[in-house]
Amino acid sequence: MIVKKRRRPLPLTVLSTTFVLLWVLMAAFPFIWTVWGSFKVEQDFFSRDSWWFAIEGPRTIAQTGSAFTGDGYYGAWVLRDFFSSVVNTIIVTVSVVVISLTFGTLGGYALARSGYRYTFWLLMLALVFRAMPHITLVSGYLLPFFEMNIWGHLPTAIIVLVAINQPFTLWMLHSFFLSIPKDLDESAMVDGCSRFQAFRMVVIPVMWPGVITTGLFSFLLAYNDFAVTAMLLSQPNQTMVPKIASFLGTIQQEGNVMFAVAAVVSATAPLFVLVMFFQRQIVSGLTAGAVKG
């Protein structure tokens, strides 16, 4: 005798599955479409006749002889020097992640282990800082930075991003440290470590998952930032996102939007890879904040 699953009525299953499928389509389609279209010429991707052109690419075939073309990528990376902004992005994101995590683990550990009242106030202060729109802070930086002649350099943008990132990093690492029992570092200190040694040799090794998760989010913040990098970096030091924004100003008139499309796809690809490899950490990170926050 086969016992039927009677847990979920069929219409409900159909409805919820359709809904999920629809959502996945909504979430994924724009990316698939744009990646596909980035290998076409502009008259296909932005076709006045039919969007079907973007799929088959008749003009692309007419102009380049094949259904796919790397012209957009060539234009962006070589002609428009997208390459150097990629290098800048790498420098900025790596530095931001490393410095943020260093500061953040120290601070988060202190907040998690100190029982005094002021930790609460510091965390609240961090929350308020976290809420500040970045552009309001930028409007505070510009004039002093001009005066001090440090405007436009990569280190300036890096340290600013680190600072902006601190409230979030502190909160997140603080909650991760709270989940590690106090006994661990206390027994290490009884065994003869100093506070810092206990932190470095006993706590950090078991904290790796939390550190990696937090690092991912620091990376995303630095990588996705537009307000700070657009306003604080000079033209040659630009990172990818402001570079893409500057493409829009210049290229659209010249009729080569495809450079921007190619640049957009290039900038998104690393994020895809990131999500693919670190999906679990990202999910756990979002939740860790939620559970403790």
Binding site: S16, W23, A27, G115, P133, S139, G140, F146, I282, V283
Partner: protein, 342 residues
């Protein structure tokens, strides 16, 4: 942990925050009280033969530059900037209130003042996108929770993309698709049978597009948090409810939702903060003609290549900060009460 060790550990982080978050806020506050120098004007008398002498006023570029260099802040203006036409526009509002043709007239005239325009969109965006994105995220979480485990990984992967993508880039991608030559724009044109339809052309459509983008971008966050929350719903309680006679909806209503409530508060808080600084989508959608936000106004003031309006940007920033504090105040007050009770 003793005070000394505590401060040693937290010093780098605290220093960074004080120098680059607290100090800039002070700097913004100071800047907002100043306004850029007027151009130095000199009167030059030119006497040409036969024509007699004429006095001309000219901008003395060199002197202007010198003055700016000497006093980069500009000249003191008190609260003048806050009250001028581009910010709180007290005089203009007074005039509108004194002489108007009904409520609609007041609203439309106030909406024409740049600050209130930006404020209107910012608030609409914040308070429309946040609840709708949370609702959508919750529904997706319920849906994904019910599909076979094998498909959950890929679904979560695709679901994360709209959130993780660079906001400017995400906005651009949707902008291109919704332009009249893009797939969405063209489809809409043919569906509604209106070949001139362009999402950019009307204020309402622009707003709707931006709001849809906002929901698309924000829903995954709620989804992930709620989905994780669903995994920890206490099994016993759920089964008790089943035996007590609760149907599917009542189980969600009485067990699942109460369990997710703390998470929902957290999500709402984070999303309100993030949505209040809405900025990149306006740049990405080139929507500034129909929709501006507070952050965008600041950006616009600072972007001027020749005349960066520091004073004006600072005043808007201060008003934005006040907005943020108002937004956060319920949370802060509540947390403070809870903390004191402990």
């Amino acid at each position: 942990m003793p005070h000394k060790a505590f401060f040693a550990f937290i010093m780098p982080s605290l220093l960074a925050m004080l120098l680059f978050i607290a100090l800039p806020i002070v700097s913004v506050a100071v800047q907002s009280l100043y306004v850029q120098h007027e151009r130095v004007v000199t009167e030059v008398e030119t006497c040409a033969p036969f024509a007699g002498c004429t006095t001309e006023t000219r901008v003395d570029a060199e002197a202007t530059e010198k003055l700016r260099h000497a006093e980069p802040l500009g000249r003191f203006n008190g609260f003048g900037t806050y009250l001028d036409r581009n910010h709180l526009a007290t005089a203009e509002i007074g005039a509108i209130l004194a002489d108007n043709a009904g409520f609609a007239d007041i609203a439309s005239r106030i909406y024409n003042l740049p600050f209130y325009r930006a404020l209107a969109f910012t608030l609409t965006y914040t308070f429309v996108v946040t609840p709708l994105a949370m609702l959508l995220g919750f529904c997706i979480a319920l849906g994904v929770n019910a599909i076979p485990p094998f498909y959950k990984g890929p679904v979560i992967f695709f679901s994360l993309l709209p959130m993780i993508v660079t906001p400017l880039v995400g906005a651009l991608i949707l902008y291109w698709m919704s332009s009249p030559q893009g797939i969405l724009g063209a489809t809409l044109q043919s569906l509604l049978n209106d070949p001139t339809l362009s999402l950019k052309s009307s204020a309402v459509l622009t707003w709707v597009t931006l709001l849809v983008y906002g929901i698309w971008h924000n829903a995954p966050f709620s989804f992930v948090v709620f989905y994780a929350g669903l995994q920890t719903v206490p099994h016993d309680t759920l089964e008790s409810a089943m035996i007590d006679g609760a149907n599917r909806w009542e189980r969600i209503r009485f067990v699942v939702i109460p369990h997710l409530m703390p998470l929902a508060t957290f999500v709402a808080l984070v999303q309100l903060m993030d949505n209040f600084r809405v900025f990149e989508p306006i740049v990405g959608f080139s929507a500034e003609a129909n929709a501006t936000s507070l952050s965008w106004s600041i950006f616009n003031d600072l972007r001027g290549q020749v005349d960066q309006l520091f004073g004006s940007a600072a005043a808007t920033s201060m008003l934005t900060i006040v907005g943020v504090v108002i937004l956060l105040s319920p949370v802060l007050v509540r947390t403070w009460r809870e903390f004191n009770r402990r």
